[in-house]
Structures are given as structure tokens and as C-alpha cells.
Amino acid sequence: MRNSYLVCYDISDDKRLRRVFQIMRGWGDHLQLSVFECQLTRAELAELKGELGEVIHHEQDQVLFVDLGPAEGRGDRVITAIGRPYTSFDAPCYVV
């Protein structure tokens, strides 16, 4: 079962910041500057934390994981936006 997380980071070094961004791209949708929305199983969350843990500086950087609850049936209620609209992807497949 996947859970939704808002992952926000504050990285004090440009090189590490780029690496964190690269990692995050593999795991979630880039919502804003240092904010991603990810839908992860427990195992995926552990993997992501492991990958980030290898890269960040444990005294100077911070990554926050905000748990938004089960992904399925969450709908758009949990995150609302003013300004540019927020939309979540909800199709059974990708077609290009």
C-alpha cells in the first residue's frame, strides 16, 4: 500500500542540492522549488531515505517527510492551491 508524502528539503551546499534533486526526481512529482510529492510503499520510503542519507550532510542539511496518509482514494482534498493549480495524476497507465 502506498502512502503520500510531501518531501521538503533544505540543503546548504549547491552540489549536494543538485544530487538530492536528482534523487527526488526518481521518486516523486516536483511541486515547487524544494518540495516533492511522492507516493511510496514502506519499502520505497526506506530506500529513498537510504539514498538521501548517503548524500546529505547530517549536521548541515535537513529533509522533512510529511505523511499525507494512504495514496488510494486520497483525492485532491489534502493539498489545495491558490495561484497555479495543483492536479494529481490519477490514470491507470501512461500513454504517450
Binding site: R2, I23, A43, A46, G50, P92, C93, Y94, V95, V96
Partner: protein
């Protein structure tokens, strides 16, 4: 009528098996935890990561970093410590990697880092039985290497507690017994049965492969003999007493969380950047796909993919499926993920047994006819009672068919009746006439090329379903080319086609009806090209969505009474076929909707 599959105890160990020289301490731990888990991991080489195993690995990486050579017995003075040491015992053929050894002269204490928490008992904190065994293996090995060892320590990282384990003669004896049994289990090559209703299973990362409760439940049923079996899966499906006691625990999640991708714009190029696939049209990025989100990548026609992208997909276990522009399924690229050699040996052996092919074929054909009948019953404007009765009769005859030829004939006759009525399932809104292109002015199926819109959609749909079952066969460890009902033929994934039979009406026919009736696909999506009717690109794309929507639909499993998506169901059914072939359950429980 053939002989039933031999009982597990009578089966010969698989030929040509060579065992490794040493049994790792960690595997003795697994054996004590669950012999079946041990068998999957050590004998079949199947390992599934879970949150616990990943976290455990990360913690070990930290522990293992500080490694130092170990002092030989008697060499070191005073207290000493060393990390991450691998030692073996020739006498017991055991090997262990020890996280930490604390020594004082010749006397040593192995310390094992465990991810979880200790067991709480009335007498206080204790190490779990399987952890105690693992430490005892380490102690035995240390002793054989000349050290003195009469206790070990498990360090539970979650609560950061050290729990002592005394090396009592009883523990040593139990441990040696477990090691002997584990060797014997591996040598026999017969999978131990699943634990019954155990609280260990929900937390075991292998439960989606093992299907413990489903297998146990079916084993209970299978023992009552063939006659009852057949009536159980016959129609009407009777409610069994066990079912009213709550059915089977659903350990696998209802849906697979990963999504397939279909690329169907000619000339697209797929590259890789980190864990993301970047899809470009000319120089414009049209889509980014996270590899972690994909369960398959389908390339419809001329799409270029870089080697780097294919490597990343293979590594993540995401198959790449290739089709012609018209939807002909060419094949699959998969990583080297399944090592399940024994299942394949069994598959080839049984494919040569006519009685087995017939017995499985009966279930598949009867199931397909029943599902076709259900489609008509549910969706036809005016279902013809005579037709329904006839199809019901045919399904009953199929269950008793004497030969594969008879089955093929029955299947063909049923299909003709079914497709004659199929036009009645198409309704495109009140008062409006069904557009000409969807009107079936012929009887039954036509292909190569399809001569009307409905047949064009059906052909594409069956091609997609054949792809999905081919991928499923690889995931489960089958060879998709070696079938039972469908005999092997060049370029034909015969086993995938076998498994597909009961699902054709439920998945494909239903997706086609849905796509037309809800006007996801309209007459504008087709062009006539000579005798053929061809789907335009936008129509094809709409159909992929319709098909995947159907795959994502939840259905109730008639035997286990839980709800799962069709996509999940394909895998469960394929794994049940493996259970049947391995002799664990008495009959293949074909999937039939109520």
C-alpha cells in the same frame, strides 16, 4: 484419465541439483523462522525486498564499514574487538558472517545486529528463536576455529538493547538439528508447505510469491478427491463451509501500485536521466516517466530506446514489450530476475504428459465458456435463454472432455455462439442507432486483417492480454513458450495463451464493449484500408486506457472472497498454476466470475 500428481513425500529430488559447499548461518535462521522461506531464498534464489530488509541492509552497511583483521586464538592479549568477520566450519558445512566479535584472550562473544526489537516474555526480554539459532551457528563455527564461546549477544537496533544468549547443550543440539534438516530440505528439492494462519506471514516479504493462506485453503479442498473438486469449480459454484468462516486473509494488496506505459507516437526516443525515462519527440521532451513507477514499458511501433534506458529497466525488473504499429506482439526484454529453474523443469516434464494437458485444458476451456456466458447474461439487451442454456451445457461437457481435440471443438462452437450474440452487447446511447462501423454484419471473429471495427479492437486487446500474461509468466518463473492446452508453435507464447483463455471475455471483450458504449472510442477513430478496418493513433491510445481501466477494476475472487484488480489476479492465477504443477494443490482453480 491420468494418475494424480505424486504426493510431495513420494517425489524424487530434482535431478542435476548441486548444493553449495556451506550453509550460511543466516539461512539456518530463515529455516527456523519458516522452512518455506528458507527454500525460496536458498534453493530457488527468490528474494523480495521489504522495508525491513532494506532498513536492515542500510544499518549493516554502517556496521560493516569498520572492519579489522581478527586475532588468531590466543594471539591477542586483554580485551579486543573485531567487526564483519567471515568464518566457516568444515565439520558442519556451515558459514557465517559475524557482525562483531568481542574477545578477551581466547574467549569470544559474537554480536549479531538485528533490525527489529527483542521478544517480550513473562521472564523478561529474550532473543527470537531464529536469532538464537543464528548465534548458535556462529558460536559453533568459532569453537571449531579454536575459540572458546559460551554465549552470544543479539543487538536489537530498534530498541538498542543487547540480549544475551547462552550456548546451552540444548540450544546447540537444536541448532545442529535445524542445520541438518535445512540441508535435507535443500537436497530433496521439494518445497515445504506454507505456515498455517501464522502471524509471521503478513510481515514476510515473500507472501505475494508464497500465497500461504490461498495455498493452504486449496490444499484442504484438494484432499477430498477429484469428484468433489470438479463439482466445486463447476457451475453453480457452491458456497463451501470454510468460506462462511471469513474466507482467506488478503495478504497481497488489492492493486499493484505500478503503472504500465504505452508509447505509441511514431519516432519517439526514450533516454535515461537518473531514475527517470525521458521521452522525446524530435528535440522536445514530451513526457518524463519515473522508473520506480512503472511495471512495464510498451513500445508500439517505431520507438527508439537507448541502451542505458534498457539497462536501467532490466535492473529494476521492468520488462520492455515490443509491438508492431498494428499491435502485433513481437516479444519482451526482461532482466535476469527469476532463477526459478525447478518450476521450469516441472513445466517441461508435465507438458509431455497428455493427461496433465487434458486436465488443465478442461478447466481453462470450461472457465472461458462460463465467463463468455456471464458476459452475455450481464450485458446483452435481450439474452437468449436457449443460447445461455446451450453454453452452460458446453461448459459442463468441457469439464469431462476426453481429448484435446474434443476440447478445441467445443471451444470453437462456443465461441461461434458467443460472437453471434456479441453484437447485442453494443449499445451506443438511447435512441441513436449503433454506428455502421460497429455493426457486426458477419458472424463471429475475423482477423488478419480485421474487417470491422469491433474485430480490430478485439485483436489489439488480445495482443495486449497475451503480452501481460507473457510478462506474468516471466515474473512467476515459467517459460511462456511451453504450453499445455496450446501446443508449442513457432513464435507463440503457448503458456501465456493457456492462462489467457478464461480472461479473454472478462478483460478484453469487456474493455471493448466499455470503450464503445461509453464512446471512449467512436466511428471517427477508424479508417477503411482495402478490406481491413484500421484504428487511428488516437483511437489506439484511447483503447490502451480502456484496457488498463479494466485491468485496474476490482473483482471478487470466487474462492478466496477478497477483492483484487484483474492485474493482480493474473499473477495470483499464474502462481496458483505453479502450486498445482508443484503438486501442492489438487486442481487448478480456474478463475470464473459469478
Amino acid at each position: 484419465m491420468g494418475a494424480p500428481l505424486p504426493a510431495e513425500s513420494e517425489r524424487e529430488p530434482a535431478a542435476g541439483r548441486t548444493l553449495p559447499d556451506y550453509l550460511p548461518a543466516r539461512m539456518v535462521n530463515e529455516y527456523v523462522y519458516c522452512p518455506r522461506l528458507f527454500f525460496y531464498e536458498w534453493v530457488e534464489g527468490i528474494f523480495v525486498e521489504s522495508a525491513d530488509t532494506i532498513e536492515g541492509k542500510q544499518q549493516h552497511r554502517r556496521v560493516d564499514r569498520e572492519g579489522a583483521p581478527m586475532a588468531a586464538p590466543g594471539e591477542a592479549e586483554g580485551e579486543w574487538k573485531t567487526r564483519s568477520v567471515t568464518l566457516s566450519s568444515e565439520r558442519h558445512r556451515l558459514i557465517a558472517r559475524i557482525d562483531l566479535i568481542e574477545g578477551e584472550g581466547r574467549r569470544v562473544t559474537p554480536v549479531d545486529y538485528k533490525h527489529g526489537r527483542p521478544r517480550e516474555t513473562a521472564a523478561g526480554l529474550e532473543a527470537w528463536p531464529s536469532d538464537r539459532t543464528q548465534l548458535a551457528v556462529q558460536a559453533l563455527i568459532l569453537r571449531e576455529n579454536g575459540y572458546e564461546c559460551d554465549e552470544g549477544i543479539v543487538f536489537y537496533q530498534e530498541t538498542r538493547q543487547r540480549v544475551r544468549v547462552a550456548m546451552t547443550p540444548e540450544l546447540v543440539e537444536e541448532t545442529l538439528k535445524a542445520a541438518r534438516e535445512a540441508w535435507e530440505t535443500a537436497r530433496r528439492g521439494v518445497m515445504p508447505p506454507p505456515l498455517a494462519g501464522s502471524p509471521k506471514c503478513p510481515g514476510c516479504s515473500l507472501h505475494p510469491v508464497c500465497l500461504p493462506d490461498e495455498t493452504n485453503w486449496l490444499r484442504g479442498v484438494g484432499r477430498d478427491g477429484d469428484e468433489r473438486q470438479l463439482s466445486l469449480f463447476g457451475e453453480p459454484v457452491p458456497r463451501k463451509p470454510a468460506m462462511s468462516e471469513g474466507g482467506v486473509r488478503r495478504l497481497v494488496s488489492a492493486r499493484t501500485e505500478l503503472r504500465p506505459a504505452y508509447l505509441d507516437t511514431q519516432g519517439l526516443r526514450v533516454g535515461r536521466s537518473g531514475d527517470v525515462l525521458v521521452v522525446k519527440d524530435e528535440d522536445k521532451v514530451v513526457q518524463e516517466l519515473r522508473i520506480h513507477d512503472l511495471c512495464q514499458l510498451n513500445l508500439m511501433g517505431n520507438i527508439q530506446v537507448t541502451t542505458q534506458a534498457v539497462q536501467a529497466l532490466c535492473e529494476e525488473g521492468v520488462p520492455v514489450c515490443y509491438f508492431s504499429r498494428g499491435g502485433w506482439f513481437y516479444g519482451v526484454t526482461t532482466g535476469l530476475v527469476t532463477k526459478n529453474v525447478f518450476l521450469r523443469q516441472m513445466q517441461f516434464r508435465l507438458a509431455a504428459e497428455p493427461w496433465f494437458c487434458l486436465r488443465l485444458g478442461r478447466q481453462l476451456v470450461a472457465g472461458k465458456i462460463r465467463n463468455q456466458r456471464t458476459m452475455i447474461l450481464r450485458n446483452h439487451v435481450e439474452p437468449d435463454a436457449r443460447l445461455l442454456a446451450e453454453m452452460k451445457r458446453m461448459a459442463e461437457v468441457a469439464v469431462r472432455a476426453k481429448s484435446l481435440e474434443e476440447l478445441l471443438g467445443l471451444e470453437g462452437n462456443a465461441a461461434r455462439l458467443y460472437f453471434e450474440a456479441f453484437g447485442g452487447l453494443i449499445k451506443t446511447g438511447e435512441g441513436t442507432d449503433v454506428p455502421k462501423v460497429f455493426r457486426l454484419d458477419f458472424h463471429g471473429r475475423n482477423r488478419r486483417p480485421p474487417r470491422d471495427a469491433v474485430n480490430a479492437l478485439l485483436s489489439l486487446g488480445y495482443s495486449l492480454l497475451a503480452k501481460d500474461l507473457t510478462v506474468t509468466c516471466y515474473a512467476v518463473g515459467f517459460d511462456p513458450m511451453m504450453g499445455f492446452y496450446h501446443q508449442p508453435r513457432f513464435g507463440r507464447p503457448a503458456l501465456a495463451l493457456d492462462l489467457m483463455e478464461p480472461f479473454r471475455p472478462l478483460v478484453v471483450d469487456s474493455a471493448v464493449i466499455q470503450a464503445i458504449n461509453t464512446r471512449m472510442i467512436t466511428e471517427k477513430d477508424f479508417v477503411q484500408a482495402g478490406p481491413a478496418v484500421v484504428l487511428k493513433p488516437e483511437g489506439r491510445k484511447a483503447f490502451y486506457r480502456a484496457y488498463e481501466q479494466r485491468m485496474d477494476t476490482l473483482v471478487t475472487h470466487p474462492l478466496f472472497e477478497y477483492r483484487v484488480s484483474y492485474r493482480r489476479l493474473l499473477e495470483i492465477q499464474a502462481r496458483l498454476l505453479a502450486r498445482y504443477m508443484e503438486g501442492e494443490i489438487g486442481e487448478y482453480p480456474v478463475f470464473v466470475t459469478r
